[in-house]
Amino acid sequence: METLDQIFVLSKKGILDFLGTFLPEWVVTLACVAITIKAIAVLGPVTMMYLTLMERKVIGRMQNRIGPNRVGKWGLLQPLADGVKMLTKEDIVPHGADAVSHFLAPILIVIPSLLAFAVIPFGRGMTPVDLNVGVLFFIAVSSTTTIAIFMASWGSRNKFSVLGGMRSAAQMISYEVPMVLSVVPVILIAGSLSTNDIVLAQAGWGGLKWFVFTPWGFFAFIIFFLCGVAECNRSPFDLPEGESEIVAGFHTEYSGMKFALFYMAEFMNSFTVSGLAATLFLGGWQGPFLPSWLWFFLKTYALIFVMIWFRGTLPRIRVDQLMGLAWKFLMPLTLVNILAAGLWYFTEGAARWLITASILAGSFWLLTKLNRGYTPEKRVYLFAE
């Protein structure tokens, strides 16, 4: 059990020990870094490839279709076929495009998504870089994708792209705020910004003492996850690329591998956001019976499933409503949530449950009443004989 839990750590140690027998120490240190980077660099794209398949399969099933099943058993080779197709496609640069930013954008967009992998604790002792400002690093890095998206939209010299880029910038700025604020209670309770320490703070109850099982944790989790979905431009917040309105938004003018890179970034982002949500609120790799890394992947994929599920169900919201939701609803709620977490910290027993839960439920109710423009109207329909 213990070896299974630590299998990746042990194998890395084994390789390094083997190298240490005949190589100088600085080479071994370099190799230690290289192995981790290699692991992430492989994990990212492979995850992306199979997430596309998973998305297509799951949405297909939700729509009572089969989904891709022609390439390989159950369509398992479909991502490879897609990759070949993408690579062989013509690379089109529009006439009058800003060639530099048009070329650089797809490359730039992948970097932050890959960097974000660095602070995700994949299992016990499996955080690639255990930064003491891990959460902050993640948020800072993931928000830089906006620049790449804006470069793509501006460089394409296409009006639809510009609209998409503008939407993306506005959306990212709005959703960054509630996202950060929803993490604050976690940092408050855990007392650390390091992702590893946050996971350790959720130890107990046989590995089920997750933050999500507290009133403030529940609300913070929902808000964080919604903001995360908005950050990776996924449905129902996929306005920057909303295909029914602005064709494909910022990547209208991209084809072939450049287009694939945008997709790769989007899927890797959804993986890292789900991973971080699992880390912050669902106890990360904590869990009974199964190896730690398996728990982490189970939780992450469950959250990704929810993202796909959203995409299969929900219509897109409008740009002004998107902003309204962030500023008028999620932001006040996170602020109240910080208060609730503070109260939780200082109270004990059943009282803390009662106080925090009632404060949060009350403010949720109040906010829905205040935002009446966003709540459904009751309609009456007449019938003429």
Partner: protein, 385 residues
Amino acid sequence: MTEKTFSLHGAGDMDTQTLEINIGPQHPSTHGVFRMNVVLDGETIVSLKPVMGYLHRNHEQIAENMSYTGSMPYTDRLDYFNSMSNNFGYAMAVEKLANIEVPERAHYIRIIMAELTRLVNHVSVIGFLLNDLGAFFTPVLYAFREREKILDIFEEVAGARMMCNYLRFGGVKYDLSPEVLARIAGILKKFPKFLEEFETLLTKNEILCMRCQNVGVLPAELAVSASVTGPMLRASGVNYDIRKADNYSLYERFKFRVPLGQKGDVYDRYYVRILEMRESLKILEQAVKEIPAGDIMSKKMVPFLKSPRNFKPPVGEAYARVEAPKGELGYYVVSDGTAQPWRYHVRAPSFINLTILEDLCIGQKVADAIIILGSVDIVLGELDR
């Protein structure tokens, strides 16, 4: 309240420009080759000019150079979703012109087909509307799942799924077998359950309500003065259904109600269609139960089945209209006593309902323009003819 002036870098007002975009003719959500020339201020629509005619194919001129029966298959291609109601209108116009009595059973078959067509149209138009709203194909595929069953019936009865070419002057081409009637009854039994599911998915969905309510409001006066017809007019609260107003065919025998909206926004247009489907189901149930035995063709017209070219209606003119799923579909036929109509005109509901598009869209966002277009329910085959 005095207006505050906002300055950037100490300069006066910001210099902004409007953005002119052509949405279409190649755009995922224009339902075909339709173009909207939109001027945007940010994302708000300042002006919108519909540009039509990309699918113009001389339908009327072709019909004037062809035997009367010969343009029956061409009417299928007007509104290719509802070939049966198109046939119905044209057959009625020519029957009026040549004074042909239609046997009772043929009337019943025509009504069954027209109402099945209404189900097909409304269910898929709601699916497409949701696609325009950004739902990733789920509603449209659920809709198509049901539509498929009805199209199977069309195929069994008429020989084709969409281009039915089923009605003839004085009756219908083939009889309905008891098995087909039983299958229709089976569909009628299952359809309400599907509508239930469809509504759970959509009607109360907060995002759908946010997006659709109070968007694209069409006041009743404007609707009447622009001679808008069909569900769009009834969503604005005007009680005008040609099945009731004209009592054509045998519609007076059936009990059904006409649902009316109150606001006339996109949501009302969506919901009136759902209610109309429920009423259509009632008509179908009665029709399937009460269908009499007898001829399916008027005796007078049987010889002309074999030789359409010998069918020469007397000199005169006739206008007949039906309540097609999209609105008032009228055919105006002038005969000069030869085998070809001297003049043939189609009053296409898609075209006339679309004339108010600009009034609906001004002041709304780009995303709203798309769903307003979706809720108008156009088919380019009929719009451009």
